[in-house]
């Protein structure tokens, strides 16, 4: 072994075997911004989930005499809305629907879009052309318009707005998945795996998926904020949730009449949408850099 003279032997012993995802997890735990965002999101999620047990006022119970109380009024920490309903209760309860129609479409689109994108990117050729050109048709419409058009055609309702938002996001995720897959597919290590006699499915599972899922997942997380805003927009237009259901977009719509009377209370649902969106965005940024373990 005359070739063993170099520094190859003198490298410091590596630590314990740590999987890729464990390394990523450790890196994200050290990222303060991501952790704060995660904390805020967990807080909002848990409070929305546990809303009935938090001892809040009835979010549907209004009163003509105590309409549009200011923030900080005794018994009404966040004031009341235009029908005298407790804003705190409505915001917490509203999180249930808002988060559902904000996140579910992205999850569905992630599953559908990733499958399409993986197939298009890995198989290539005519299959790729067929899938990607179909996707291009959806790209011809602005996403807001597409969501409104589909929701309008299907009729108002929570299920329909989830469906329409899913349709809006599938093309975007498919495109990202396809481009990432194509990039990874052309890497030498995929060639090397083929050269060692592995079947397509095994290559997909072991060599492609791990390298492809990360970027798509990050992109999808970023889409959650868009989805929240689009969902709120649909409700605002009357195509999503129906009154008196508490939902942030719808609340923004109904409170708009009170914007000159009590602007702070009227802005509260918007603040919630903003907070959730920006937390998801920053979290996806944090994940993006945590997954780039080369740095």
């Amino acid at each position: 072994m005359s070739a063993m003279s170099d520094t190859a032997l003198q490298a410091a012993p590596a630590g314990k075997a740590r999987g890729y995802w464990k390394t990523v997890g450790r890196r994200i735990l050290r990222d303060k911004v991501s952790m704060v965002c995660a904390l805020v999101l967990i807080l909002i999620f848990v409070s929305a989930l546990c809303a009935p047990w938090l001892g809040l006022a009835d979010p549907y119970q209004g009163s003509m005499i105590r309409r549009l109380r200011h923030i900080g009024t005794p018994n009404y920490p966040l004031g009341t809305d235009e029908l005298g309903r407790d804003m705190l209760a409505r915001l917490v309860y509203g999180g249930r629907l808002s988060l559902l129609i904000g996140i579910l479409p992205v999850i569905l689109a992630f599953l559908i879009g990733t499958s399409f994108g993986l197939i298009a990117g890995y198989v290539g050729g005519k299959v790729n052309t067929a899938i990607m050109r179909t996707i291009d048709i959806f790209y011809a419409f602005p996403s807001v318009l597409l969501a409104i058009a589909i929701s309008g055609a299907l009729g108002a309702g929570i299920v329909n707005s989830i469906v329409s938002l899913t349709v809006v996001f599938v093309p975007q995720i498919t495109r990202v998945a396809e481009s990432v897959t194509t990039g990874v597919r052309n890497m030498d290590f995929v060639e090397a795996a083929r050269a060692s006699g592995a079947r397509s499915f095994t290559i997909m599972r072991i060599h492609m998926l791990g390298n492809v899922l990360g970027p798509i997942f990050v992109y999808a997380t970023g889409l959650i904020s868009v989805s929240m805003i689009l969902a709120a927009g649909l409700s605002f237009l009357g195509l999503g949730t129906k009154p008196p259901e508490p939902e942030w977009g719808l609340m923004l719509n109904t409170l708009r009449t009170a914007i000159y009377v009590n602007p702070w209370v009227a802005a509260l649902p918007g603040v919630m949408i903003f907070a959730v969106s920006i937390c998801f965005n920053l979290l996806s940024d944090g994940m993006r850099s945590a997954m780039d373990i080369r740095n």
Partner: protein, 361 residues
């Protein structure tokens, strides 16, 4: 083999190693015979333009004897890497036969079996390792694919890391980005060896390394060849390296083989003007002996529309009208297996510098 207890002071042998596919043809049978290998890439020239083809590899034939190292040299874009990928069956070929140890691939030898018998090391040491897998996992993948149990394949991977000069305890659990280029290329060599191949294609395997590391990896390759009884197909643009490691050499130009023969003979008496130009272009390490005049002028012609006849005639200082006509065939010069595709080397070809035909006065 597990019942054999290793001697205490001997290194533990690789248990459960994949046995190399057996030698069927005997010593005289070349390990690899390639004939008429051709690859044309279609180039779409837009919606209404006529589609064209790039003749990346055109009617390439050669053979590799068992235990031999064959070098392929040529400018970039001459079809060296395409040839390697065609041999590995990583892309479909337009024409040509590939016979491995007397067995036609696809008929007598399945593609999966061929992959056991023939492995490849790529040029880009980083891109050829999965960034999500540890080095051990990358090496163990091949044997695992071929039915080895996972613990056994990991043991084999560690064993092979030692063989390529990387201490398993230090390196097995590292990721590709955590080690240097030379170490990565050692890992790639170990990965190729994990399937116990008999032929290893080294596609510019040392070209990206700096000179001292390159020398170490070359020596490693020589050692491994002896230890495992390997046969190499060594592709490089570095003529010094090819001369050092090869027994025979193939010179390619624009997708064709223009000269082949024993490496010393080709170096000492190049028969094709392109080989001469390549050798003259080698930088000298003596500062008083610099290359003053360009040995060759111009760029290689576009392989989409290669010149007729001898493809080199557009840049050849000895070109005569004859050269633009029919393509010169590879013709033997002497008895040693030295061949060249040049009318100047073909006796009685009609070129003014050609030796007279035998029997002619």
């Amino acid at each position: 083999m597990s019942q054999i207890t290793p001697l205490p002071d001997m290194p533990e042998p690789i248990r459960d190693r994949l046995m190399p596919i057996e030698d069927r043809g005997g010593v005289a049978q070349p390990l690899l015979q390639v004939s008429g290998l051709t690859k044309h890439f279609p180039v779409r020239g837009g919606l209404f333009a006529k589609s064209k083809t790039v003749r990346a590899v055109d009617d390439v034939s050669f053979s590799i004897a068992k235990g031999e190292t064959v070098g392929i040299v040529g400018e970039s874009g001459c079809g060296k890497s395409t040839t390697a990928r065609l041999l590995m069956h990583l892309m479909p070929r337009n024409a040509g036969d590939i016979v491995y140890d007397g067995m036609q691939v696809g008929a007598a030898l399945s593609l999966r079996e061929l992959r056991r018998g023939m492995q490849m090391v790529f040029q880009d040491s980083y891109a050829s390792l999965n960034p999500r897998l540890t080095i051990e996992e990358s090496i163990a993948f091949g044997p695992w694919i071929h039915g080895m149990a996972e613990p056994a394949s990991r043991t084999l991977a560690r064993e092979l890391l030692g063989k390529v000069g990387l201490r398993p305890d230090n390196f097995a659990n590292r990721y590709p980005h955590e080690i240097s280029g030379g170490q990565r290329q050692r890992v790639n060599i170990a990965r190729a060896l994990a399937l116990s191949p008999r032929l290893v294609i080294l596609d510019e395997a040392v070209s990206a390394l700096d000179k001292s590391v390159e020398a170490q990896v070359l020596n490693l390759l020589v050692d491994l060849k002896r230890e495992f009884g390997l046969t190499y197909l060594f592709i490089s643009h570095d003529l010094n390296v090819v001369r050092y490691i090869s027994d025979r050499v193939l010179v390619m130009y624009l997708g064709e083989v223009v000269e082949l023969g024993p490496v010393d003979e080709v170096w000492d008496a190049p028969a094709h003007p392109y080989t001469r130009a390549l050798l003259a272009a080698m930088p000298s390490s003596d500062p008083d002996n610099r290359t003053q005049t360009p040995p060759i002028s111009g760029d290689p012609p576009n392989p989409i529309d290669p010149p007729s006849g001898c493809r080199f005639h557009t840049r050849c200082p000895f070109a005569e009208p004859l050269c633009g006509g029919a393509t010169p065939k590879l013709t033997a010069i002497g008895e040693t297996g030295h061949e060249a595709a040049c009318y100047m080397a073909i006796a009685g070809s009609g070129h003014s510098l050609a030796p007279p035909a035998k029997g002619a006065s």
